[in-house]
């Protein structure tokens, strides 16, 4: 069963004439682990935000969980965990880590419902899983880039998503943390059947357990293959010699 289905999709940013992604034909089955790679400006983030409906596609058809994206944005988003590309956080921001992780459950819980003990247990267990449990009462603005990235991942996992969309999830992580997060993602994918689509501009960031690799350049998908069939040196040739900017 396809969990994501995009047919001839173009997405144009407001005020722009040229699509950021175009003629995208892309489907993902439940339980797949897909890595999208490409140079900066290839359209990777646009692809993720088209899938969760943050950016409405301008032509074509898009379905997630068998529901048309534009008409069911809130429904599908409640089942999608999203990790945004690292953003600047004010060092004085008035938010504690545990509260930020809990915000991951806000949409899923729905209006007029308050987080209960079960929700807080999930928050604590996700923070524990990512090794940031001791930061529960720490302000988010006081964390290092890597620690903050783990809080964002814990936030996405606390949503108990069926689909995870990860935008450069390993940025700011040291090699040890990166392996740890990779293991967690693999476990979620293999044992809990969570579908994962992650993007990266760095070939070295492709997780070992990813089942499929998509290469994007200048808004198009230029390669879509099982990871076993892809040679990294071919990827380097395809992505980086063409773009000429890496």
């Amino acid at each position: 069963m396809n969990i994501i289905e995009l047919k001839n999709v173009d997405t144009i940013y407001e005020g722009e004439k040229i699509p950021a992604i175009y003629n995208i034909n892309f489907s993902v089955k439940r339980g797949e682990f897909v890595t999208v790679i490409g140079p900066n400006g290839a359209g990777k983030t646009t692809l993720l935000e088209t899938i969760n409906g943050i950016l409405p596609y301008t032509s074509g058809e898009g379905y997630v969980f068998n529901r048309e994206i534009k008409r069911n944005r809130e429904y599908i988003r409640k089942k999608i965990g999203y990790v945004i590309q690292n953003f600047e956080i004010d060092p004085l921001a008035p938010f504690l880590c545990r509260d930020i992780v809990m915000t991951g459950r806000a949409g899923k819980l729905g209006l007029f419902r308050f987080p209960g003990e079960t929700d807080w247990q999930i928050v604590r267990s996700m923070m524990d899983l990512l090794g940031v449990k001791e930061f529960e009462r720490r302000p988010v603005g006081k964390l290092s880039g890597g620690e903050f990235q783990k809080i964002l991942l814990a936030r996405a996992l606390a949503q108990e998503p069926e689909l995870l969309l990860l935008d450069e999830p390993f940025s700011n992580l040291d090699i040890y943390s990166r392996r740890n997060v990779e293991d967690i993602l693999s476990e979620l994918n293999e044992e809990n059947n969570v579908t994962i689509v992650m993007v990266s501009h760095d070939l070295n960031m492709i997780p070992v357990n990813c089942s499929r690799i998509l290469v994007m350049d200048k808004g198009r998908i230029i390669l879509d293959a099982k990871s076993d069939n892809v040679d990294v040196s071919d990827l380097i040739e395809i992505v980086f010699s063409k773009s000429g900017n890496q």
Partner: protein
């Protein structure tokens, strides 16, 4: 020191406390969402609306509410959709509102109306009526219910609007409710603090409290405390010095802010 009849004194104290509560609580959202310039524009729209109300012979409060809600509904979508810099649009709107306010004031015939208009400009405890207090009580209740019921959504949006949207929250509706509450809060506090200064009462107490806490719950609790205290101290200072009440409240709240910056534990090294 000015001596007031007991009933007027009580009305003024309650009015100042409620305006302080409403404005500083709304201020928590306005400051964190960087809506200061939008709110500033709305306070001047409320002032223009009050002047318009006087001109056509209706309650200035109704005019203020109508103009500030109109501005909220205009600025909300514009700030989301416009390809122009939002600050440019706000700058234009702000100047239009001030221009309209002065045109309306200029058109009001007679000295009495001018006196009322000036009270709207500078604020006056004498113009706060029993009905104004009831409206402020009602708005305070609405704000408390809004925060209590939608705390998780509000926190999510204040942290990062895109992530909140991506997790299935309809952020637009909350954004508009916050703008709407700001407009109403500004309008209801207009008579007390004055059209030119009401926005300081929104920004100053909330900004002061942000200097002390990392826990958002504490900010939501203590911002109204600082807001109410600023208003009461400002009121007392106004009686003491015979300065306009709006100016007195703003001076007190600005001093509290300056003190907060100096002693802020969040800004201390080590």
């Amino acid at each position: 020191m000015i001596e007031l009849p007991f009933k007027l004194l009580i009305t003024s104290i309650i009015g100042a406390s409620l305006a302080g509560f409403v404005c500083s609580t709304i201020g928590v959202f306005v400051v964190q969402m960087n809506l200061s310039s939008i709110g500033y524009c709305m306070s001047h729209a409320a002032f223009a609306g009050a002047a318009f109300g006087l001109l056509i012979g209706i309650d200035p409060l109704l005019g203020a509410i109508a103009f500030s809600i109109f501005t909220a509904f205009l600025l909300g979508p514009i700030s989301e959709k416009a390809k122009l810099n939002v600050n440019v649009i706000i700058g234009v709107m702000f100047s239009i509102m001030i221009a309209l306010a002065f045109i309306f004031l200029n058109l009001i015939p007679g000295q009495a109306a001018t006196g009322v208009a000036l009270r709207i400009l500078w604020g006056s405890i004498f113009s706060v009526t029993h009905n104004d207090l009831l409206f402020l009580v009602f708005l305070s209740a609405v704000i408390i219910i809004f925060i209590t019921v939608f705390y998780k959504e509000i926190l999510s949006i204040l942290f990062n609007r895109k992530l909140a949207e991506a997790s299935g929250i309809n952020t637009r509706i909350f954004y508009f409710i916050i703008l709407f509450l700001t407009g109403i809060g500004v309008s209801l506090s207009l008579k007390l603090v004055g059209g030119l200064l009401v926005f300081a009462l929104i920004v100053n107490p909330a900004s002061s409290v942000y200097q002390f806490f990392y826990d958002f719950k504490k900010i939501i609790v203590f911002a109204p405390v600082i807001g109410v205290l600023s208003c009461l101290l400002g009121f007392w200072f106004s009686l003491l010095t015979d300065f306009p009440i709006g100016s007195s409240i703003v001076i007190v709240s600005a001093l509290v802010f300056a003190f907060s910056i100096i002693v802020s534990p969040k800004r201390r090294r080590g």
